[in-house]
Subunit: 148 residues, 2 copies
DNA sequence: TAAAACCTGTGAGCAACTCACAGGTCAATG
DNA sequence: CATTGACCTGTGAGTTGCTCACAGGTTTTA
């Protein structure tokens, strides 16, 4: 299998295959004649696994670690489970943040719709954003937590 | 106000202030003596607005567009409202995707816990990720109202 | 035999910052 | 009055996970 073959088989961009190879997730052999990369069924399995793990939100370094662990599959890898549970917690955190955000947005919208003029225009929204209550900013402390 | 002053006033990193200035969101004047940037109360308002809009998920180009519209505030800006509603729809889509993801993850976890060996080890998870059903990420057409 | 399609590696671009660097400026202390 | 330390300046690079562009080599196809 050459780049385009494995890319088609996993339904990804050939450049993604090249990128993953650069990143060490795939280890193709080389055709000595033309130096082309040769992927086998195991590479395809790794690629598919990587794509699925990406959909679950795992980072490339995490995936590489899992794959490397699986490479010499003597021992089970409790690390995988740990990463999985961390990721689940993260997903739940993201969900509640987004839900809070949605609530603020919809309540703002309905508040505007009850205003004299009905549906809010741009200016109204601008003013509302300016006076937005941003208490639920979990982000700020994490991002510039080093101040003062 | 110099960079650090306005940064403190808005509780952001001074580098963010410099970055926003580079990006044209802030237009400080210059002290002719030392070429330092001088920010005024209006810059601070713009900066605070930008931060709040960022929390709502607006992109910098969008924020700049809004700010520029507000600059020559002859006309109301229906664009703002449109962007706001688009953003709300996006947030709702993200929420439902994440909820689907969480559901798959938790059901996998509980399924594993009911397995003979109890809590799943890494290998089990690897195999499960490999056989992960990844249908739900592709389509966007079926994004009608969801609830929690 | 020549064009099209593919291969190679490398480097840049996206978003929204954050940090590092090197050199200039300013306030306060000794 | 000189030195320190905190701040200022602009620029360039790093982050994440790709995607695209480029220039040149190879293979396939017509």
């Amino acid at each position: 299998m050459k780049v385009k073959d494995i890319a088609n088989a996993a339904a990804v961009n050939p450049d993604t295959v090249r990128f993953y190879t650069r990143e060490g997730l795939l280890n193709p052999s080389r055709n000595p004649d033309n130096n082309y990369q040769q992927f086998d069924a195991d590479d395809l399995r790794r690629l598919r696994f990587a794509r699925k793990a990406r959909q679950l939100g795992f980072s490339l370094p995490e995936i590489r670690a899992i794959l490397d662990q699986a490479e010499d599959h003597h021992s089970p890898c409790p690390m995988v489970r740990e990463v999985f549970e961390q990721r689940l917690a993260e997903v739940e955190r993201e969900i509640s943040e987004l839900q809070a955000l949605r609530k603020r947005m919809t309540s703002a919208l309905t508040a505007w719709q009850h205003m004299p003029d009905g549906t809010p225009d741009g200016h109204t929204i601008c003013r509302l954003i300016e006076h937005w209550d941003d208490t639920p900013t979990v982000n700020t402390s994490a991002v510039n937590g080093n101040k003062e």
